[in-house]
């Protein structure tokens, strides 16, 4: 029953920015707001509890001898491993290297993918010809190419190559799909106003696909990160992927886990940056 109450209160929500604040909020609306903030608090408490429970279990289980600490490490050891890496002075370097590789591959995949998607949209004939190749290119697990890239391009080149390959095809397909689904009536309208193909692109297709672009951007952040880490696994002298492989080789699980935690923080940070860019772009 509590589910239906907020729904009936919703129409009272002032949605029109111009006229919303003439009368004070009704009692029902005030109740609805209170219920909303209570819900939000519950969600946050729930999340915190899961995190605490997870960390506590991770800390206690190895110490109590339930699992082998050599295999799982535990949070306090990870924290010390992190401090040790920090003290060695090249943690910043590892983070920087990975971040730079991600940024570059991300940017290249995005730009190249956008250019290809635009060309495909401009030339339906080209699109028809290339379609099967794109489908195969997208379906192929790019990670299988890592050894080949390594032989062809060397350690640094193969990292970029695999990261770009992972992100590129999905960029092309997502953007092209968005472009080709542009409302045909908007295109027809632009044509009645005298627009040629190029103007249809710049006035209708591109501005109408800002959302597609943002969705692609978000998908690509994760994919470039996957590509870079896999590339670093194969061969590298620095970066978080290197740290993970190196740590596991010398059986320092605390170091591996610390690197993974940093990696997840990094991906969250990049994701948030993209989200910021999105609100700025869409306004």
């Amino acid at each position: 029953m509590t589910e239906t109450a907020p729904a009936t209160a919703t129409p009272g929500t002032p949605t029109d920015p111009g006229t919303g604040s003439i009368a004070g909020p009704s009692v029902a609306y005030q109740n609805w707001i209170d219920r909303q903030s209570r819900n939000r608090r519950q969600v946050q408490v729930g999340r915190a509890l899961i995190l605490i429970a997870f960390l506590a279990l991770w800390e206690v289980a190895p110490r109590a001898g339930l699992v082998n600490p050599m295999l799982t490490s535990y949070p306090s050891a990870v924290w010390e491993g992190f401090l040790e890496l920090l003290a060695q002075g090249n943690l910043g370097l590892h983070i920087g290297v990975t971040l730079l590789e991600v940024m570059i591959s991300f940017a290249v995949a995005m730009i190249l993918g956008t250019v290809v998607a635009i060309c495909l949209w401009l030339s339906p004939m080209l699109e028809k010809i290339l379609d099967p190749f794109l489908v195969v290119g997208n379906a192929l697990p790019k990670i299988a190419l890592v050894p080949i890239f390594y032989i062809w391009l060397g350690p640094q080149g193969s990292i970029y190559a695999v990261a770009i390959a992972v992100a590129l095809f999905i960029t092309i397909l997502m953007l092209y799909t968005g472009f080709s689904q542009t409302d045909p009536n908007k295109i027809k309208l632009a044509r009645t106003l005298g627009a040629g193909k190029r103007q249809i692109l710049t006035k209708v297709v591109l501005p109408g696909n800002v959302h597609t672009f943002m969705a692609t951007l978000k998908a690509n952040v994760g994919l470039s990160l996957v590509g870079v880490i896999v590339g670093e696994f194969q061969a590298s002298k620095a970066g978080l992927g290197y740290l993970i492989v190196y740590g596991s080789q010398i059986f320092r699980m605390d170091m591996v886990m610390a690197a993974i935690v940093i990696l997840s923080l990094m991906s969250v940070a990049i994701y948030l940056a993209v989200q910021k860019a999105e609100t700025w772009l869409i306004r």
Binding site: N185, R191, T192, L193, G194, K203, P207
Partner: protein
């Protein structure tokens, strides 16, 4: 009844728009559609013509031909005596579907045409502001279409069309998305604007009363392949010397007669 039967009246004025034995076939993988067959009729300068006919009889196709978006398979489409070669700023087209760009404000939407045509933007902006304000959208110039009601969006779309200063207006069921009440008043309003500015207008509609209430002539098409069935000259002598507005026309004595004739014609073709 048919205009063909009273030729002398307007012979001296050259037609604004003319269809000469126009045929149009659509081709697709599924086959060929004969959408328009041997279509011939003309529209005088400053005239308001309504086109009625069943769904799929080629009404939108006729407007697309006039706007230069496609070319007839055979025959000629002429504006001011010259064959239509492609989209021209002289022709404004309000499409059947709502096509305001939701990422642009109302004012920016109205400036789309001038931007595409590379017109003087400062002048176009002043014109757009004046036109939209005169359509009652002065408060909403910087709103996005999503913040407007259906009727306001319709007026904004007309404003965008008018901003190109066309002398021929093509209206493809511009009121079909509106509720009945709004539809009547918006039709009255838009009809009024078009007459005041002396534009030549062609309105496509399913709604026979609307066709009669707004037009100087009603063109009836037969079902696919679309052919000209008849043309009805609409006058309301009982309502005084000048043509009444669309609301008043609906009240005029002649209205029922026109309605009955056209309705019967549209019923009896099979």
């Amino acid at each position: 009844m048919s205009a063909e039967q009273m030729p002398g009246r307007h012979r001296e004025v050259p037609p604004k728009v003319e269809f000469r034995k126009v045929n149009l076939h659509y081709f697709s993988d599924e086959g060929e559609t004969h959408a328009v067959k041997d279509m011939s009729f003309s529209v005088r300068p400053g005239e308001f013509v309504s086109i009625v006919g069943q769904s799929g009889c080629g009404k939108s196709t006729l407007l697309s031909l006039l706007s230069g978006l496609m070319h007839p398979t055979s025959g000629q489409v002429l504006i001011d005596g010259k064959p239509v070669r492609g989209p021209s700023p002289q022709v404004g087209f309000m499409l059947q579907q709502d096509t305001l760009f939701e990422w642009r404000t109302i004012l920016e939407n109205a400036l789309l045409g001038p931007e595409i045509r590379g017109m003087d933007l400062a002048a176009a902006r002043a014109r757009a502001e004046r036109i939209l304000t005169s359509y009652g959208l002065g408060q909403f110039l910087h709103h996005k279409p999503g913040q407007l009601s259906g009727g306001m969006r319709q007026r904004a779309a007309l404003g965008r069309t008018m901003c190109m200063e066309p002398d021929i207006l093509l209206l493809d069921e511009p009121f079909s998305a509106l509720d009945f009440q709004t539809r009547l008043s918006i039709a009255e309003e838009i009809g009024e604007i078009i007459r005041r500015e002396g534009k030549t207008a062609i309105l496509v509609t399913h709604d026979i009363p609307e066709a009669i209430a707004l037009a100087d002539r009603v063109v009836v098409l037969s079902p696919r392949p679309g052919r000209l069935k008849s043309i009805h000259e609409i006058t309301f002598p009982s309502a005084g010397p000048t043509r009444p507005g669309s609301m008043a026309a609906r009240e005029a004595a002649e209205f029922r007669e026109y309605y009955h004739t056209i309705w019967t014609e549209m019923e009896n073709h099979d």
